[in-house]
Symmetry: C2
């Protein structure tokens, strides 16, 4: 058996085409969704991420700005920038690229972004709403994974899912979303004693660790769906956690790296920015 | 083998004795921790819960007030009461007893409680901080369970834990706390296909469903720790989810119902109220 390839690039393109029509519709009402990204410092990888987000936004008709601040910007000055963006009605989505320089407390920054513009879903208010079951922005990578799973043709109800990695950016929120979708989730991590056994009995495996070669052919039940969130640069090449060439021989469906989860994450940033812009319209209507 | 009984009543008493000395110390500095509970309506069970919280607080030297509002109080009027309590420096902890009458949106109420007085830990800001790993108030039942587990003499690292029930009040946050403590958690619920098999291989079982007789002797691995969060009234008697008399023959440790998790929950309300009061002291010092 050879796995169905969950082609994130293609799925993202189709998804973005739908977003584009919604952007066009919104523009007809006088609203151009805007995504503004704040980048502190000169890290090359961060600049490249930020630029690709801007390009993706513009490609579907949104406007997008990058605010670049010097490496030694004080926390207070970053907060001032964020407060200004919070109050600017032409800005719908605000992202602050992490990691931030040492003098800046990440929590203070994330808590400062207005929840209704926090398209990453990292403000604790939005994280809390997610867990409390209140409508919110869902973090982009978990949301992208849920979208990919729709293309694996599996009803999630009753499925046994192994999530590897307990970060609050990926592992924990995706476990939460899967549980809400009636899957039974086991959350694995570096201290888990029965990682391999748990993988072997799972219908779906989601690996978000950053350890190339972690998931092998022997770990995967025939027909299982394998989502690889790992992205580690090894000798200049991006590698996932899963031994792709081997595992695709046994899996039922699998995501490649690159071209799997990555494009979906960026797509969900756009998705959340569109929602943020649409909500301002609803508010305008309510206020009339 | 007969299980060690995790006597929540006794453990709670010892814990409260420690709280009492801290309350005394704080009073010597002129601060009497105050817990204020808002009760809307005339539900008998709710009134009884609220009264027992007040008594428990007073017993360890805190002050405690119950604000009773009529069943038909509007949401806006409840919000006004909460805003007043938020601004009252003599009030350290605020609880709003749920369930609330239909005309009141629970989310609006929970989001209105000042995060620094939200000793239940139900304001989304505090839920979000919990998941983001920022210092916060931890919901009382999960916190009480973690305290009980300390008395089961088991290092949680690498332990396989089955949590039954995915509520955002108990199941999900206790899964989060256990994961933080390096346990491997499987979160089970009504749609799980392999509930019994998962229980059978678990080192720790936490059942928070409200279904008497759900966990039987056959489901429990010899020596496993069993925490019963169920509290269902059957023929006027409180019953847990676990067939206690049978299961205690195989378990390594077990909580009774009543007298297990219940007393711990109330104790953690007091614990969080004390922390809230202590934090105001720190703020006073900071402001000097």
């Amino acid at each position: 058996m050879t796995a169905k390839i969950l082609d994130g690039k293609k799925i993202a393109q189709d998804y973005q085409a739908n977003l584009q029509s919604e952007v066009t519709a919104l523009q007809a009402e006088g609203i151009t969704p805007n995504l503004t990204v704040v980048l502190v410092g000169n890290d090359g990888a961060s600049l490249s991420y930020v630029t690709s987000k801007k390009k993706a936004a513009e490609k579907i008709g949104m406007s997008s700005d990058i605010i670049r601040l010097a490496e030694d910007t004080s926390e207070e000055d970053v907060l001032t920038v964020i407060r200004k963006l919070n109050e600017d009605p032409t800005v719908h989505g605000i992202l602050v690229q992490v990691p931030l320089p040492q003098q800046i407390n990440e929590t203070h920054i994330l808590e400062a972004i207005a929840p209704e513009k926090d398209v990453d879903g990292f403000n604790p208010v939005n994280i809390g709403r997610l867990y409390a079951g209140v409508e919110t922005f869902i973090p982009c990578t978990p949301l992208g994974i849920m979208e990919l799973l729709k293309h694996a043709d599996s009803d999630l109800t009753g499925q046994e899912v192994a999530v590897i990695g307990r970060s609050h950016i990926v592992g924990q929120p995706v476990a939460k979303l899967l549980t809400d979708s009636n899957a039974t989730v086991t959350l694995l991590h570096s201290r888990s004693r029965f990682l391999k056994e748990t993988l072997k009995r799972s219908d779906i495996i989601i690996s978000a660790v950053g350890k190339p070669g972690l998931v092998t052919k022997e770990d995967v039940k025939p027909g299982a769906v394998v989502i690889d969130v790992g992205n580690t640069v090894v000798d200049g090449r991006l590698q996932g956690d899963v031994l792709y060439d081997d595992v695709k021989e046994v899996a039922g469906a699998i995501t490649p790296v690159p071209g799997g989860v990555g494009p979906m994450t960026i797509t969900m940033v756009l998705n959340n920015t569109l929602i943020a812009a649409q909500r301002t319209k609803q508010q305008r209507h309510t206020k009339k």
